[in-house]
């Protein structure tokens, strides 16, 4: 595996790791790792360093919805322009072009059910090219970005063994 691949493997799980520690884990030169990180950022491969938050454990209300959107693709530009019109809304967190029964998957974060509903009916459905939408609300997150949210790791091994 290349250093690049290994760096990505590690920081995907732990973006707070510093360059020194990263170089220790990889057994690579610190300067080389720092340069590689910079390159990865410049090339847009590393797009950000986010924090995973389980909002349901806070007092702050968040409602997440997945919306399946069917659209009419436009000659010459396909889905790109309609996708852009949708992703520009700040409440939209993700937009994916999908294979299968619908075209765009829009993931939305709102403060309330009402807010999400009004976004779908007032903004999304009224776009010219949108044929139909189906909105699914997320009730509970068990696992997100590879992390299990509902259980903590517990070490149940014998404390000393040969």
């Amino acid at each position: 595996m290349s250093t690049r691949e290994e760096i990505l493997g590690i920081i995907e799980k732990n973006s707070r790791i510093d360059v020194h520690e990263l170089s220790v884990l990889l057994g690579a030169d610190e300067l080389l790792v720092a340069n590689e990180l910079k390159n990865l950022e410049e090339e847009g491969i590393i797009c950000g360093y986010h924090t995973m938050i389980d909002w349901s454990k806070t007092d702050i209300e968040k409602v997440n919805a997945l919306i399946e959107v069917k659209v009419t693709p436009q000659r010459g530009i396909g889905f790109d322009s309609i996708a852009e019109r949708i992703y520009k809304y700040p409440e939209v967190t993700s937009v994916y072009l999908m294979s299968g029964g619908f075209d765009l998957m829009v993931i939305l974060e709102g403060k309330s059910l009402h807010e999400v509903a009004s976004f779908v009916s007032n903004k999304l459905s009224t776009l010219d090219t949108v044929l139909s939408t189906a909105t699914h609300f997320i009730l509970k997150k068990y696992k997100d970005h590879g992390t299990i949210l509902t259980k903590k790791y517990e070490d149940t091994r014998e404390i000393v063994s040969p």
Binding site: D155, V160, S161, P162
Partner: protein, 385 residues
């Protein structure tokens, strides 16, 4: 009343780890780096296959040697990793962990008084199993200056007319030492010249961090003289499933299976079904875990260097074996004080043979966060000495 206990058993020293275990249990809030098993759960698809076999009602004995499909997968695995072919029916059989295979191999091959060469520091069971098989254990003391590898010279120094078996415990617990192809070639020469047999315990084979693990069975003339022992515990994080295997010449396997059928009957059926899945679809899991271990290995070595704890670089298993001689304490004293003063548990090197004196075994089968917290304690302890 008559003394109910047999003399041979009484004379065997209890494991040094056991004694330490009891002290650790009494210490509240202790962090342990004393565990000899992976911290990962068994990969889900492997567990799922075990559960599925139970649902389907696969709850009966298997044949004494184990499921044919499992033995076939074991044979395929050795062929693809070492280029050596074993007949899955006659030369492979499934045991209750690698440790059963060690016991059986010794019992099947030993006549009273035969000598068994056991390199130490090494896993705790070779010497007692040899004694229980009426063999005379002859210890070879491995040296740090050789990176705890076994040399041909060391074997030659201990070989007598009575020597029958050489135990080859690499990659090694507790030192993390490995044997590379050139090292093994030297050993193989002596083995053939002195007409010895080898019990090669390769349970940590997959956890080799400098290239690929090389088994002595891949060297010319060695398949005929070697019992290859491996299992699922370390590579696939399956310690609790208790599943290992032995491969070797048919004549020896037959006798080992004879003891196995009377003492054990067969290895656990659920585990065998899970193990088939492990060998068929588990390569990526092994790679992922190995990568994590390797990160931690490098982290510990770098931390030891920073806090001034000398340590040779080990390339196998999930242990490092730093030297504590410069602190003027015995391993036992060092570990006991470290536990009392900083609540950090590591295992004294002497638990793996007298020549482990002056060393401690530190396991990195722990998360990086855990290792970091432990290194803070170790640093504080050392700075006070």
């Amino acid at each position: 009343m008559r003394n109910p206990i047999g003399k041979k058993v009484v004379d065997i020293k209890p494991s040094g780890i056991r004694k330490f275990f009891d002290i650790v249990l009494e210490t509240e809030g202790a962090i342990s780096l004393g565990v000899g098993e992976p911290d990962f759960d068994t990969p889900w698809h492997i567990r799922d296959e075990g559960i599925y076999s139970l649902e389907k009602g696969r709850t009966f004995y298997t044949s004494n040697s184990g499921l044919k499909e499992l033995r076939t997968e074991i044979s395929n695995y050795i062929h693809r990793t070492q280029g050596v072919s074993y007949d899955p029916i006659k030369e492979v059989f499934v045991t209750v962990g690698g440790s059963e295979a060690i016991d059986l191999a010794l019992r099947a091959m030993i006549d009273e008084g035969d000598e068994v060469l056991i390199p130490q520091p090494s896993y705790v069971s070779y010497e007692p199993c040899a004694i229980l098989a009426d063999a005379v254990p002859v210890i070879i003391e491995l040296k740090e200056e050789n990176q705890f590898r076994l040399t041909a010279q060391e074997v030659l120094e201990k070989v007598t007319d009575k020597t029958k078996i050489l135990v080859l415990p690499f990659p090694n617990n507790p030192t993390g030492a490995i044997m590379e192809k050139e090292d093994l070639e030297e050993i193989a020469k002596v083995v053939i010249e002195k007409d010895l047999y080898v019990i090669s315990d390769e349970i940590y084979g997959e956890l080799t961090y400098s290239g690929k693990h090389v088994s002595i069975v891949s060297l010319p003339g060695m398949k005929e003289r070697t019992i290859l022992i491996n299992g699922f515990s370390k590579a696939y994080a399956m310690t609790g499933w208790r599943l290992g295997y032995a491969c070797g010449p048919q004549a020896i396997m037959e006798q080992m299976v004879k003891i196995h059928q009377f003492a054990i009957m067969c290895a656990p059926t659920t585990s065998q079904y899970a193990a088939v899945e492990a060998l068929r679809n588990g390569d990526d899991d092994v790679l992922m875990m190995k990568e994590q271990y390797n990160h931690r290995r490098r982290f510990l070595l770098s931390e030891f260097e920073r806090i001034g704890l000398p340590c040779f670089e080990p390339y196998g298993a999930f242990y490092v074996f730093p030297c504590i001689k410069k602190f003027g304490m015995s391993s036992d004293e060092f570990c006991t004080r470290l536990l009392k003063e900083e609540k950090l548990a590591v295992v004294p090197g002497t638990a793996f043979g007298d020549c482990g004196e002056g060393y401690i075994r530190v396991s990195y089968a722990y998360s990086l966060e855990n290792l970091k917290a432990a290194m803070e304690r170790l640093e504080r302890f050392i700075s006070k000495l």
